[in-house]
């Protein structure tokens, strides 16, 4: 029996699908058969790779000895840096910095790959790893980014300091009657995708095929070509189902290049599936930003000036994390119309796992800084936290709006989203409840936290590929260069194509993640896919209809304007009284040896700026410091919504991650650089039990940047939720005069802050 959700609710009528809660086409197979991940693929005679990783954060590496490992049962081979004949990776920011594929001369963070062991089974390989001897002399690590910025010794020889990137900005003139100064830490997070990194490399003659769990297969292909010096035509990269990425699988890691390298060296299919323990310490981390804010304003509630200074922790090698401050900068002033705004940043090296993009990537940090600062300003001048926001929002009439840091917001209505969330949450009643609890000297204080956010999606507009081809039986084959890793692109794009062509989504074959089938592609990150790949597929579908009509006009030798097309009834072409289906068109074209196909490389003119307002309600147990998130309200506006089910799925997941940063998650290193949260027992990865039923509504203000009117919705939840939750806790604690506690707001941190506040009273 095959499960077909699509006939349960919508999609059979003669209505447009786009905008409807059409059930995900992906799910029946996920629920019945299960997904196919790289680790599930079956190959004959496959060898298994395990990595030996650095146990220390900083050391001079003297020798790595694999001879004992080689003698263990089931071991095929073992390699160290000496055996890897690929030149080190020259860093993209600083050419002096090189990252070897396996550690060479130095150990730079706990978890850095030092050696690899290849076994007949994964268990043999893991067992033999224990027999690799690493000889090193410890050196003093630098863990704290603040210390790294000022450190006299630089971590890389040839670098004058540990600062690898910076954005200059003046200190803005302080304007206003009130000055708020604060430091906010956006702690390090481990991305924790359900599926970790996984690669299989298999060889057939000259042809190398690499299966990889990744968000951008075409870019993985380019990396492998570059480092393995292989002809483009001899490499195929395939991405099967991907169990989450959150940004951590955009880039291609050294380990992932080594798998095909070793497969070629051994002339044997090789697989590496990382363990959770490896993933926690060496899959790129997110956030890791320290912000200093200075906000100036008047007692009437007007914010006059705002300056954000950022220290970004890059970890041991500058990866994409080093560039996060650029994204933070774009969103410095948030939803507000402020006269004077400035930003500066430095990105520094430490002896920790490198940072990368993580859901929100630089924008959550910006939203957190300004939303916390605005709350502190409201408290200082004794004004309601919603009111102070209403006084400073960019006027909806002023879009497109150029900010003082140069971002051009396409469209927005921040007042409306805040108004709606206040209504949804019954804000006035909450305020009364909060005051009553204070009056009653309750041990369970209520806190209300507001966050108004605006963020940037498709921040780096780039061409994206989409094609639609008519195939046998009147079905369509759709190919796209983006890479769904949980988002549901097959559903969304099939809906778009169906509304143009009339072809039922069940008759649309959807392809992604195969460099042989899809000629080019950028991938999925930065909430870019619908506004790039979605539009490309829409245009390709439009073009296919036009091509089909042209074909028919030629075929029947009638004027083009005599050929009509309607998407109703599965797509109908008519010429006079004659009526033809897509299936007829396919047959006619085939008889003439023609293929009806259209493709588009669409490049959007500019990014888009989704926005919204979130409101968190917390109860704080003052005797223990434990925070209970009672309610979470969200109004999110990402322009036109293609499918509210998909959009809400993105919002709910994002809210969960955003809340979790506020309350639970932190990847902690001790002062020697040892990870203290390397398992799920210690790292505060949340479960469903940690969250209330989310109460969210979608708002739709279409953008004119693209013809679908869509913005991205993948990251909004993480951007708005974090400051809302922290603001709520600080709102509850304001009776004690507590203005800020750094995340995550663990029971002990909250308890200690209350204790100190009580003592100083």
């Amino acid at each position: 029996m095959s499960l077909d959700f699509t006939d349960l609710e919508v999609g059979r009528g003669e209505e447009k699908l786009v905008g409807s809660p059409y059930r995900r086409l992906e799910d029946p197979i996920f629920i019945t058969k299960g997904a196919t991940y790289v680790g599930d693929l079956e190959f004959d005679d496959i060898a298994h790779i395990s990595f030996v990783r650095s146990p220390v954060a900083s050391a001079n590496l003297k020798n790595v000895d694999v001879s004992e490992a080689l003698g263990q049962p089931g071991v095929i081979a073992a390699f160290t840096a000496k055996d890897i004949e690929i030149p080190a990776i020259i860093n993209w920011i600083n050419k002096v910095i090189e990252r070897p594929f396996l550690a060479k001369d130095k150990l730079r963070f706990v978890g850095e790959a030092v050696a690899m062991v290849i076994g007949e089974t994964k268990a043999f390989a893991e067992d033999a790893c224990e027999f690799v001897n690493i000889d090193y002399d410890l050196t003093t690590p630098i863990i704290d980014p603040r210390q790294s910025a000022n450190n006299e010794v630089s971590l890389f020889e040839g670098c004058t300091s540990n600062i690898v990137a910076s954005i200059e900005g003046g200190q803005v003139a302080q304007i206003g009657e009130v000055r708020i100064e604060a430091e906010f830490v956006n702690q390090r997070l481990a991305p924790c995708p359900m599926e970790g990194r996984a690669v299989v490399a298999t060889i057939d003659g000259e042809m190398l095929t690499v299966y990889i769990s990744n968000q951008a297969p075409h870019s993985a292909k380019r990396s492998i070509i570059r480092y393995l010096s292989i002809d483009e035509g001899n490499l195929r990269v395939i991405t099967p189902d991907v169990g989450g990425g959150f940004g951590s699988k955009i880039g291609t890691y050294p380990e992932e290049i080594l798998v095909p390298y070793i497969a070629r060296k051994l002339n044997r299919t090789c697989r590496w599936v990382e363990t959770r323990s490896e993933s926690m310490v060496s899959l790129g981390h997110g956030r890791g930003q320290i912000a200093k804010v200075t906000l100036g304003g008047d007692r009437d509630g007007k914010i006059r000036s705002y300056c954000l200074s950022v220290i970004q922790d890059c970890g041991a090698y500058p990866e994409i994390g080093a560039n996060m401050p650029a994204l933070t900068r774009w969103m410095t002033s948030g939803c507000y119309d402020i006269d004077s705004v400035d930003f500066n940043s430095i990105s520094v090296l430490t002896n920790t796992n490198p940072t990368v993009a993580y859901r929100g990537a630089g924008r959550p940090e910006a939203a957190y800084a300004i939303e916390r600062a605005v709350d502190m300003f409201a408290t200082e001048i004794g004004m309601d936290k919603a009111e102070v926001r209403f006084k400073n929002f960019i006027d909806p009439k002023n879009f497109p709006y150029q900010t003082k840091v140069g971002s051009t917001y396409d469209c927005g209505n921040y007042e409306e989203s805040l108004r709606r969330v206040l209504k949804l949450a019954n804000y006035d009643e909450l305020l009364v409840d909060k005051e009553n609890r204070i009056k009653d000297k309750s041990d369970l204080l209520l806190g209300i936290g507001i966050s108004s956010y605006v963020e940037i999606t498709h921040g780096f507009p780039a061409k994206e590929f989409g094609s639609v081809e008519l195939i046998s039986g009147g079905k369509l084959s759709v190919k796209v260069g983006t890479l769904s890793h949980g988002q549901g692109h097959r559903s969304a794009i099939s809906m778009i194509v169906r509304d143009v062509t009339g072809v039922d989504p069940c008759n649309i074959d959807f392809y992604q993640g195969d460099t042989e089938l899809i000629e080019s592609g950028v991938g999925t990150f930065g909430s870019r896919s619908m506004q790039s790949g979605g539009v490309a597929c829409k245009r390709a579908a439009d073009m296919l209809v036009t091509k089909a009509m042209e074909f028919l006009s030629n075929h029947l030798d009638v004027d083009l304007d005599k050929v009509e097309f309607s998407w109703h009834e599965g797509g109908q072409f008519s010429v006079g009284s004659m009526c033809l289906s897509w299936s007829d068109l396919y047959r006619l074209a085939k008889n003439e040896g023609k293929v009806l196909k259209a493709s588009e490389n669409y490049e959007s003119s500019s990014p888009t700026f989704p926005f919204g307002a979130h409101l968190a309600v917390v109860e704080v147990d003052v005797e223990t410091g434990k925070v209970h998130l009672r309610d979470m309200f969200a109004i999110d506006d990402a322009g036109n919504i293609l499918n509210p089910l998909l959009a809400k799925g993105q919002i709910h997941g994002g809210l969960a991650q955003g809340i979790s940063q506020a309350l639970y998650e932190e990847f902690i290193y001790d002062q020697d650089g040892n990870p203290l949260t390397a398992t799920f027992a210690d790292y505060g990865f949340p479960t469903a039990a940690e969250f209330p039923q989310f109460r969210d509504e979608l708002m739709q203000t279409p953008t004119s940047v693209n013809e679908l009117g869509v913005k991205g919705i993948g990251e909004s939840g993480t951007i708005g939720a974090t400051p809302a939750v922290v603001n709520a806790v600080m709102d509850a604690l304001s009776v004690y005069g507590i203005s800020h506690i750094d995340m995550p707001l663990s029971p002990e941190k909250v308890f200690s802050a209350i204790k100190i506040a009580k003592r100083s009273k």
Partner: protein
Amino acid sequence: MITSSFEYVAPRSIDEAFSILRDSDGEGKVLAGGHSLIPLMKLRFARPSILVDISRIDGLSGVDEKDDFIEIGAMCSHAVVARSNLIREYSPLLAHVAAQIGDAAIRYRGTIGGSICHGDPASDMAGALFATGAVLVVDGPSGKREFKIEDFFTGFLETTLDPEEILLAIKLPKVSGKYSFEKLQRRSIDWAIVAVALNQVGDGLGVGLVNVGPTPVGFKLSLTSDEDTSALLEQFSEIASSLTPPSDVFGSSEYRKEMAKVLFSRALLNLV
């Protein structure tokens, strides 16, 4: 995340299990539900060479009523303990605590005996057994032995169990007094930062403390009258000041001490 290699045996009788353990020269380890042992093996912190799975041995997973006590088989899962009518009637605290351990998957796999023999100070179950005054029935080469719960734990993840011995059952006095359980956690599936279990037993108040030292901790406070909370708080405070809770990412030792007091006073208030 992959264990080192080991042999696995699943004996059908307790005598067979004993002889396997005897022949393994101390390298054998009894496997109950596996929810503590298997993660340790996957992290390679534990590497027993033989795992003796006792789940197929008859008679280890029942709950029986005796004259003045009930006997719970060591292989009863937390879910069984939480649901058992006998336990709910004669030791309601235990059922109440079992229902809050970990998550549903953990409660269905994890066992009361496994939890106790692991000797983890963070075990909710150990706290509950202290509060109710449990007795542990052990069998092995030197014959059947019985331990009071307070004599069972000897150090961090260490018990008085000999490597060749197996915990058969837990005997609980039939109690009808009031009880309560207060647990402070970060996430719902986390071990308690601190937890306090109370059970009125006769003229005393049984107290079990979770995660406040290298071993599970418990004691009995004398109860002169129901209203005597300030005297109890004072007694508890004195004992709490000598505790040495661990410091970790969930909380410092100092915080845990303070929370033990807060939770104790809440538990007193919430006795039902």
